[in-house]
Structure formats: C-alpha cells, structure tokens
C-alpha cells in the first residue's frame, strides 16, 4: 500500500512538489508570525514577581527628583532599589542605536539574577568607575571585546569635557530569561552623576526610573500603595507597577500588532488549506479510473480510503516539516533583523508543536473528501469514467 501511495505521488512530481512547497511556506509563516507574538509576550510571562518599577505618573520621559530613591528605600516592604537612567547616546553615528543605562552596579547584579556574565568579570565591572557591561548581541554586532575602550557621544548628556564619554568594556552578559534583551549597555551611576555635577555646576541629576525589589512574602499591592502614597502630594507623583504589568503596557502600546498578525496568520491558513484541498481533490478525481481498477482487483473501500488519506498526509507532513525546518533555520537571521522592535526573537517549542498539529489537521482535512469519495465509489462507475 505504501508503494501505491508513493507511485501515485510520483505520477505528478511537479504537482506534488508544489503542494509540499505551499505547505512549507504556510508553516514557515505560521511559525514566524506566531513567534513574533510569543516573543512580545515573553517579557510579560517571565517577569520577576517581586520586582516593581517606580515611574513618574506623568510619563516615562519625566524624571524623578534625586532624593526619591532614598525615600523609596524607606518604604515598608522594600528590600533593594536600583536606579536606571536612560542615557540615549550613540556610538560613532546616530544610526548605531542601542539602549544604554546608568545603574547602581552592585544592585543591578543582585536584583537581576538572569544576568549571566559570560566574558570578563562582574567584579571588574563593579570596581572600574568607567567600566561597562554589554549584552552578548551588542558585543557581537559591533565587535566589542572585554578591555576595549568604548566612546559614546551623549546626545542628551554632554561628556566630561563636553564631548564624548569613554567607557571600558569589563563584562559581557547573556540574559537567561527574556526580561532583558542582549543588546543593552549598563554602566555605573557614579560616573554618570559625577560628570553631570561637574558640567551642571554641582546640580544633582534626576533619576529616570527606580526599580524596587520587594521583600519576600510581602503583599505586592501593599508595597505599591505605600510607594505611590508617599508622593501623592508631589513634587512628582509616581505610579508603581509590577514588572509583568510594565512589560504588558509596552505590549499593549504596540497596539493591534498581535491581533493584526493573528489576522494575517488566519488569512494564510485559509489560503493554504484551500490550496491543499484543491490539490487533493484534483488528484482524487484523476485517480477515479485507477481506483476502479484497484477495487475490481479486490481492494476494499476502507483500503482505498486509507490510501488517499495517507497520500494527503505524506504531502502535508513533508511540507509542514520542511516549513518548520525553514523557520528554525531562518530564526537567527530574523532575530537579527527584528531586534530593534522585537528583541529576543525565539521560536518556542509550543509554536513548533502547534505547527505540527496544524499540519496533520490540514493533511486529514484535505484528504478526507477525496478519500470519502474514493471509498464510496462503485467500481463500475469508476471504470466507466474517463479520467
């Protein structure tokens, strides 16, 4: 029976190939689009439960006064705090864009256990005043190595002598969870703050965001209420959110992208399903004559049913598998292309499983009508038909 299936498929090699090809494309698209959506949600799903982001209630671009961190540290339930200050500089020219943050270095390493230093050392990063730590992807992209001097032009903050800032690469990190991307640069708050003071006649720099680690076992909502309550009367109101909520807001801000992608995915799915049903129907119709002969030779209805189902399955599974393979092979390239907007693009095993299940379903669905027709066919009618 397997040979029969094989022969039938090889009878029209081009047609078989095209069907496999369209399924391959369908599954490739399905995996890719789905992965963009899961990548978007990855930050939300893996967010640290007890990390809270304290941001101005007005805007992410409005800074908090310098004394806020100290006050927040006094709030009940706060175990640790870390400043993040957006630096917004660029390397050589404005096209080389990546996130740079001035942070409290020891707290950063303590509060983000997902930072794994894979080259250089965390110690050297903390000790060197102008030391910085780069994400693996960033280091690879620009060819930065540990020990290199990295000059940045501060678009928002002029450097020590009014020109460029200099940093020494002391560590390269790899995030073990998608809460951080691998294209960010971190450096020390002290270097930033001292330079800022020197340029601005002793004035303290404001702080972008304060991240809080709540004490284990504390009711998060109480901690949030305590922090937000502290600054209700100004000078700058804050709104504290959990890390999951913070990430989710970024996702909802992108708006309807996930819905749009699902919509497109649906369109693709329907188009391909139709194509496969179409091919199978045509193949089934053309085999009417052969089926008549086989039935006359004593093949049962159920055997014919199975032959046609298996035929459809073979095509679909071949196509589906190659599509999944293509998606996996293209993942590193796509991750590179998409990193500005969807950092950390990865294909989850669940997505692959979903694609597999859909492949099998298409195979079944596309095969069932011709198979049913074949099983029902009386061999007299079949033989009479001119294929």
């Amino acid at each position: 029976m397997i040979r029969l299936v094989w022969r039938n498929l090889l009878k029209h090699p081009l047609r078989a190939l095209l069907t496999v090809g369209s399924l391959c494309i369908a599954m490739f698209l399905l995996c890719t689009l789905r992965s963009v959506v899961t990548t978007l949600n990855a930050g939300v799903n893996s967010a640290q439960q007890n990390r809270l982001w304290v941001i101005s209630s007005v805007s992410l671009f409005v800074q908090l006064p310098p004394n806020y961190q100290e006050k927040i540290r006094q709030a009940p339930g706060v175990a640790e705090t870390c400043k993040w200050q957006w630096f917004g500089g660029f390397y050589q020219n404005e096209k080389n864009f990546f996130g740079q943050f001035a942070c409290d270095k020891p707290e950063l390493l303590k509060m983000w256990p997902e930072i794994e230093v894979i080259d250089g050392s965390a110690d050297a990063f903390v000790k060197n005043r102008i030391g910085c730590m780069l994400g693996e992807g960033l280091a690879k992209e620009f060819g930065f190595k540990v020990g290199d001097t990295l000059p940045l032009i501060g678009a928002l903050f002029p450097g020590p002598d009014g020109a460029a800032w200099e940093f020494t690469v002391e560590a390269i990190y790899r995030p073990s969870r998608p809460t951080l991307d691998n294209r960010t640069m971190f450096f020390g708050w002290d270097y930033f703050a001292e330079t800022f003071r020197a340029i601005n006649g002793g004035e303290e720099s404001d702080v972008g965001v304060v991240v809080v680690e709540a004490e284990k076992g504390r009711d998060i909502t109480e901690v949030i209420a305590a922090i937000d309550g502290m600054f209700e009367g100004g000078p700058q109101r804050v709104r504290t959110t959990t890390e999951a909520e913070f990430q989710r807001q970024f996702v909802t801000m992108i708006g309807n992208v996930p819905r749009l992608l699902s919509f497109i995915g649906g369109g693709v799915f329907i188009a391909i399903l139709l194509a496969c049903v179409n091919t199978m129907l045509m193949a089934g119709r053309e085999q009417t004559h052969d089926i008549g002969i086989l039935k006359a030779l004593g093949f049962t209805d159920s055997a014919m049913f199975r032959v046609l189902i298996v035929q459809s399955m073979v095509l679909c599974v071949l196509g589906g598998l190659s599509g999944i393979l293509l998606a996996l092979l293209s993942a590193p390239v796509l991750a590179q292309v998409l990193q500005m907007f969807f950092p950390g693009y990865t294909i989850l095993p669940q997505t692959l499983a979903l694609a597999g299940v859909i492949t099998v379903l298409i195979g079944l669905f596309a095969g069932i009508v011709p198979a049913w027709n074949a099983a029902r066919l009386r061999c007299v009618d079949a033989l009479r038909s001119q294929a």
Binding site: H12, L14, R15, L18, T19, G21, S22, I25, A26, F28, L29, I55, S56, S57, V58, S59, L60, F61, V62, G88, E94, A155, L156, G233, G234, P235, Q236, R237, R239, R248, Q249, T252, M253, I254, G255, N256, V257, L260, F263, I264, G267, V268, I270, A271, I272, L274, A275, V277, N278, T279, L281, M282, E286, F341, Q386, A387
Partner: protein
C-alpha cells in the same frame, strides 16, 4: 489565429470548484497585502498628509523630533522677534508660537496604558491653524487657565478625555472644556495653554517654535543659516517634512511587513495557481490535441492558457480587493515609535492600493500559469490525442 477567449471563460466555469478554491487562495494573499498597505496609507495620510508646507518647525539643532528637542524659551522668543523670514499678521505681530510637547501616561477606556501627546500652545497657534481646527463641542480654553481641549479621537478612547472631565497632569487638575476636530495627528492630542502646561510639567523650556514663513523663503537655506547660528541656533524644516520624518519608522515597518508577507504568500499562491492550471491542462489534453489538429499554432495555445491563468489571478485580485474594502475606514490605532505616542488611524484602501493589489494578483496568475501553459504548447497533436 488566436484561440477564442470564450474557451477560457468556459473552462474556468466548467471547473468551477477548482477555480473557486484557487481564486480564494489568491484573494486571501491579496487581501493581506492590500490590508497592510491600506494600514500604512492610513497612518501616513493621517499623520503627515495634513502637514503644511507654508509652516516651519524650529527644533533644537540635532533633535530628531519634538520629544527630544528642548528649545530654550529666551532663544525661542528672540527667534520669533528677530527672524525676518517669519510672516507678520495685520497688526504687525509675528505669526509664530512657542509650543511644548510631551507624551503623557494615560489609561485607555478599555484598560491598559498608552501615551497621549499633550501640547501647550500660545494663542497665535490658533491663528496659524485657522480653519484646520474647529471646536466640535464645548469651547476653546481660556488663555492662562487650567483648561484643556482634546482631539476628537481621544473622546471615548482615553480616560478623562470627555467634555467636563478633570484631567490631572502630575498634581495639577485641568478641566476639559472642549473637543476639537482636525484632520491630522492633532486629533489624538490634548491642547492647553503653554504656560499652564509647562508649569504642570515643571518645565522651563518649550519644545519647538512653529511659524508661518514668507512665501519666498528657502527653508533649506534658512536651516543652513540657523544651524550654526550663535544667537538663535535651530533646525528648521517645513511642517510637512517634519511630520513625514516622524512617520518613517512605522511606515517602513509596515511596508517591510507587507512586502515580506506578499512575497512569501505570493509564492504559495503561485504554487497553487500552477497546480490548478496543471490539473486543468492534463484534464484537457485531448482538447489541446483537437485544437492543434485544427491548425492552432503552439504560441496561441500558450497564450490562451496563460490568459486563463491571468483570469484566475484577476478574479482573485478583485475578490481580495473587495475583502480589503470591507476594512476601509475601520479605525485602529498604534504606537508611533518615533514620537512614542498613540495615534489613531483608519485603514485607507485608496485606488493606488487597489491597483497594486490587483496588479500583484494578475502577476501571480501569469507566473503560476507560465509552466503549465508552456507544457500545453509543447504537446504534439498525435501525442495529445492518443491520451485517454
């Protein structure tokens, strides 16, 4: 002699289930392409389409947008007073206004957060805008008071943005006294008095100067002149160019997404069309034999089948466009990454979008029909007639 076209029409009709499935496949591809293009069209038209070329935007040199442009107030005022290119109104006052701008955190009506642009303006701004902006409900804000007016798109989309609501910026409550109507991006903005908004945001510097220029002004030359000017350094561009520059990233993403999907799905659609045509031709081998023996040359037969496939594509294109037209005018929204603010816009299925969609579908049909048609044309009459 060419094969009559009615032969192809009939054959598509006879094999209607296969035709329908192929057409649907192509239609789905085209609908997706047209949808993404319509989205891009809607976004750029809304955001940049209403930008005026007789208005100039002055930013801090090196700034990429209003958000990162900090224009010192004294410099701005000096610029307005001294720049000869700025037009004057009937009373001899310069037609220019300082504006401040910030995307502020707001809750959406349906839940979730978004960034809504708040703009502090001086009274001259309304003179500059003229008919572009009309109050749809309530009244305009009074200068110097804690009142704001909101763009029509925000009403019902963002919390505290309906008439008589109280909208709090940091610790300062503002009363929403009016809803305004406009064509461009400002329909998603909150407008208030420059000084009051700056006080609420605790800012000393506005973000830009907007001014009407004398019609003869060469904006590029002006930009060159002011770029390195000691007294009043500024980056100058027309409002239209400014708004267009703010759409580049999102519009590029949408174009990239649309092209990628169209290429990949189009390939699948070509495969389907080829399959359909192959089946159509193998079922009609005998007919081809008859045509050949009647004296039709291979080339007209090739053309005939190519035309049949083109028809498939065209039908798919028309159907796909109809599907896309269903979405025409549907409102959606998204983040403009460059301004970091939420913009509401609608799918706009323009004739250009439709033309691209139908052209693309036809191309798919032709490409899909090429191999089968070539195969058909290569048959010899005896061979074709011999097949059962």
């Amino acid at each position: 002699m060419f094969v009559p076209l009615s032969y192809n029409f009939r054959s598509l009709f006879v094999r209607r289930s296969a035709t329908a499935l192929t057409v649907l496949g192509i239609a789905a591809t085209v609908a997706v392409l047209a949808g993404v293009l319509a989205l891009r069209q809607g976004f750029t038209t809304m955001f940049a389409g209403s930008g005026r070329s007789d208005l100039a935007v002055f930013l801090r040199p090196g700034a990429t947008g209003e958000g990162d442009s900090i224009f010192r107030r004294d410099l701005g005022e000096r610029l307005i007073k001294t720049l000869p290119e700025i037009a004057a109104d009937e009373d001899g006052r310069p037609r220019a206004s300082l504006e401040c701008f910030l995307g502020i955190r707001r809750s959406r009506v349906g839940g979730g957060e978004t960034y809504v642009p708040v703009r502090g303006v001086q009274q001259q701004t309304f003179a500059l805008r003229g008919e572009e902006l009309t109050i749809a409900a309530g009244r305009n804000f009074n200068a110097g008071s804690n009142e704001v007016i909101v763009g029509q798109k925000l009403d019902g989309y963002v919390q505290d943005c309906s008439l008589d609501d109280v909208l709090t910026i940091n610790t300062t409550p503002f009363r929403v006294v009016g809803v305004f109507k406009s064509e461009g991006a400002s329909q998603s903005e909150i407008w208030g008095d420059l000084d009051r908004v700056m006080a609420a945001l605790e800012r000393d510097s506005p973000n830009r100067v907007i001014a009407a220029l004398d019609p003869e002004t060469d904006v590029e030359a002006l930009n060159e002149r002011l770029k390195n000017n000691e007294e009043t350094p500024a980056k100058v561009l027309t409002e239209r160019d400014y708004l267009t520059s703010q759409t580049a990233v999102l519009s590029g993403i949408l174009l990239g997404l649309g092209s990628f999907l169209a290429a990949v799905m189009g390939l699948a659609a070509i495969f389907t069309a080829t399959n359909t045509m192959l089946a159509a031709i193998s079922a009609r081998t005998q007919e081809i034999g008859v045509l050949l023996s009647l004296g039709f040359k291979p080339f007209p037969i090739f053309l005939s089948f190519l035309f049949e496939s083109l028809l498939l594509g065209l039908l798919g294109g028309v159907l796909g466009s109809l599907i896309a037209l269903l979405f025409n005018g549907v409102e959606t929204g998204g983040m403009n990454f460059q301004t970091f603010t939420d913009v509401a816009f609608a799918f706009r299925v323009t004739p250009k979008v439709l033309l691209i969609a139908i052209g693309f579908a036809t191309l798919l049909g032709v490409l899909g029909g090429a191999i089968p048609a070539w195969r058909a044309a290569r048959l010899t009459p005896t061979e074709a007639l011999r097949r059962d």
